[in-house]
Each structure stands twice: as structure tokens, then as C-alpha cells.
Amino acid sequence: MVETMSDNELRPAARNLLDVARTARTPSDQRRERAYQALVAGLGGTAAVGTAKVAVAAGKVAAQGTFAWFKWALPAALAVSGGIGAYVWSMPEPAAPSSPAPVRAPAEVEAPTAAPAQPLEAPVAADSRSAQPEAEIKLAAPSPKPSAKPAGDALVQELSLLHEALAASRSGNAARALELAREHAQRYPASRLGIERSAIEVRSLCSLGRPAEARKVADRLRARAPSSPVSAALKDTCVGK
């Protein structure tokens, strides 16, 4: 039976293997919850982003446990302009009991600018809808916001650059991280992600053995955002107090 089955379909043994692997790779509810909290904790004050429920959820879980060393943030200012987000950055720490899932390198993702929305919607023909249950989970077409996309895309590009800097820093290439952070400063002098950029700069300078420069940058950062978690995250650097 199995031997004569066409290779056009998966054989039972192959199907079984996939079932086991699929189960093995399905994250637990706890992991999902942790991930959501980490995500939303970075959404502090995002009343203008997404749905009302997001804002409510953000309020509930803000400042709760997040990834020890990395999380996204979507500051209100970015939200208002339709922006995508920012990094809040801190050094790797030992896994806390409440977040056993180890997290390592940053998702060094190319700018998702070219990816998501438009190309995904484009190829969908009107009559090519799937008749499947999930296809019913459709979102109502929102009112068009023509001005939001360009701003969002610019922010995605910014994020990509900072992401690369962050990855370089974490991989031990402080010189490259510093270079990228300063490139970001040049390209986006008025960026709303300046705090995150400065944090990368500080850590890179510390790693390069340039504490005096690091301190100058840190002082500016602290003056600009004294209560920011980014500032607090610099405690374990050469400028920590």
C-alpha cells in the first residue's frame, strides 16, 4: 500500500514524521504569553497604533517582564505618525526565572520595507479567495491613510540600520556598531530613535575602551531621557554609576 502510493502525496511515514515535528515545534502557551508581554511592554502609550485593544493591553502589561536584552518599542510619537517602532536596548543578562526562554542574537532582518503589505495584497485576485475557515478571519478595510506609509517605511529603514548596529555590537564588533550608529546619526539627525542609537554608541565606545567619549554620549542621553529604560540599561556599562 505504502510502497505503491504515488509520490505526489506524502506517504504515511512522512506524514507521521511531520506530525511529530509539528507538535515539537509548536510553542507553549507560556511562551506565547511571554512573547506577547514582551511585545506589548514595548508598546507603552500606543493609543494611536493599531486597535484600541492594543492600547489597553499595552497599559496593562507595560513595564512587565520583557526579553532581558532586547525589545521593540513603539513610542507614542511614532505611533501618531504611523511609525513602526524602536529598540530599547540593554545587555544580555542571565535568563530570569520568569523568562526561561533563552534569547540570543537579534533578528538580523533586512529591512522589511519591501516585504509586507503591498506585495502581499497585490497578487490577490478578487476571485481567488480561499474558502477556508481562516480566510473568514478577515479584517475590514480601514480608511486609507496615504500619509502613513512613507513615514512608516522610513522608520523601517531606520530600524534596519539600528538593528544592524545592534547585531554588530552583540557579535562583538563594536567598531562596526559604532560606525553604523554614527551613520544613523548622520542620516537621521532628528530621529525619534536617537535614544536607542545613543545607547548603542555608548556600549560600543565602552567596548572600544573609550570611556570618556562614552560618558559624554551617556550624559547627553540621560539628560534627554532621564527616566528611560534605555538610560537605566546603561548601568552595567563603563558609564554606569
Binding site: A13, R32, A35, Y36, G50, W72, A105
Partner: protein
């Protein structure tokens, strides 16, 4: 021609049940909410990233990035495709961006996955079985071309239909089917070889 699955997994909600009676009318973006979308599709995105070769310790970040993009793009989603299809396309692009970066795709972190499995409360024997299944899966996926792997994962593991895959990847449905058939052949052959090998070595 082999039939393609017509029933997707039915994204589980936090309790593992299908999303409660979501009709197209009731499932507007504002009603559904980002939380529900995250909970319903977190497993899908996480598994997809893992199967696409994102190392275990980076998956959380990649998945998070996917949902940040989802969050950002939600308002511009026009509802012309299913939410899952739309989300699959985002995941496809974000994950592809990750795995294409040089140095971003080390060998499988099975140790981490094993620890994860044990943390889920499964027996060591079961964990071992799952670990072996994952190793085999990854080995066989590795033998596929990128385009075959993409289609195979979305269809055979994530249970998207060929139409949905075509929409998500922006390719022709016939192309999806062609790639899928080739991938299935590779996978069947690989599993058969693995089974034969196990029989040979088994005392």
C-alpha cells in the same frame, strides 16, 4: 495531481480552541484586535520561523519582528486576502531577510529545542522522538531548494492551500503545485531512506 489541503489548521486561540465563531462581519480588525491576532497566529509564525532555519535562540526575536510589522501594517491591511495569508507573507519576508544574512544561519540548535521539549513536560523518550523528528525534518528541508522548502512548509506543515500560498508568496498557483510535488518526492524519499537506515542498524 495530488490534492492540496483544503482545511488550514484553524489558528488556535490561547485555550487551543478555534477562534470563537468569527464571521467575516464580526472579524473586523477593530473587533479582532491585535492581541487576538497575535495569540491566534503566534504558533504559526513561530513554527514557520523554526522550520525555515531560524536558530532556536533567535526565533523569539524574529517572531517578534513579524508581529511588530503586523502591528504596524494592520491599519493598511485591506482584507483582500485572508489574515493568515497576509500574515504568512509578512513572515515569509521577515524570515527570508533573516536567513539570507550571512552568518545568520548556524547549524540547528537542537540542544535548545531539546531543553524546550523537556520543559514542556514530555517524557525523555518522547522528547527524544521529537528531537529525532526535528533533526530529520531539518535535514530533509535542507535538501530542498529554497522555493520548494517554502511551499512545502506552508502547505504540509502549516496547512495553507495552494491558493493561499500563491497569494502569500506572490506566485502562480501552478508554480506552487509544481514545487510542492517536487518537494514531496524529496521528502518521501528522504523519510524512506531514514527508515531503511534505522532498520539496518537496529539490532
Amino acid at each position: 495531481m495530488a490534492s492540496l489541503p483544503t482545511q488550514p489548521e484553524g489558528a488556535p486561540n490561547p485555550q487551543g480552541a478555534p477562534l470563537p465563531g468569527v464571521s467575516p462581519e464580526a472579524a473586523s480588525a477593530r473587533e479582532l484586535g491585535f492581541r487576538e491576532i497575535h495569540d491566534a497566529y503566534f504558533g504559526f509564525v513561530w513554527r514557520y520561523a523554526a522550520n525555515r532555519g531560524v536558530p532556536a535562540m533567535a526565533i523569539d526575536d524574529v517572531v517578534q519582528e513579524v508581529f511588530v510589522v503586523v502591528h504596524h501594517r494592520l491599519e493598511s491591511f485591506e482584507g483582500r486576502s485572508s489574515l493568515k495569508t497576509w500574515l504568512a507573507g509578512i513572515a515569509y519576508n521577515v524570515v527570508r531577510g533573516y536567513v539570507r544574512k550571512p552568518g545568520n544561519r548556524p547549524a540547528g540548535d537542537y540542544l535548545d529545542e531539546e531543553q524546550d521539549l523537556l520543559a514542556q513536560g514530555v517524557s525523555p523518550a518522547e522528547a527524544l522522538e521529537r528531537k529525532r523528528a526535528l533533526e530529520t525534518l531539518d535535514q530533509l528541508l535542507e535538501k530542498m531548494s529554497d522555493v520548494q522548502r517554502e511551499v512545502f512548509i506552508l502547505c504540509e506543515i502549516e496547512q495553507l492551500s495552494s491558493v493561499e500560498i500563491a497569494e502569500a508568496l506572490g506566485i502562480n498557483e501552478n508554480t506552487v503545485r509544481t514545487r510542492l510535488l517536487a518537494a514531496r518526492k524529496l521528502f518521501n524519499a528522504g523519510v524512506a531512506r531514514q527508515q531503511a537506515s534505522q532498520k539496518w542498524w537496529r539490532p
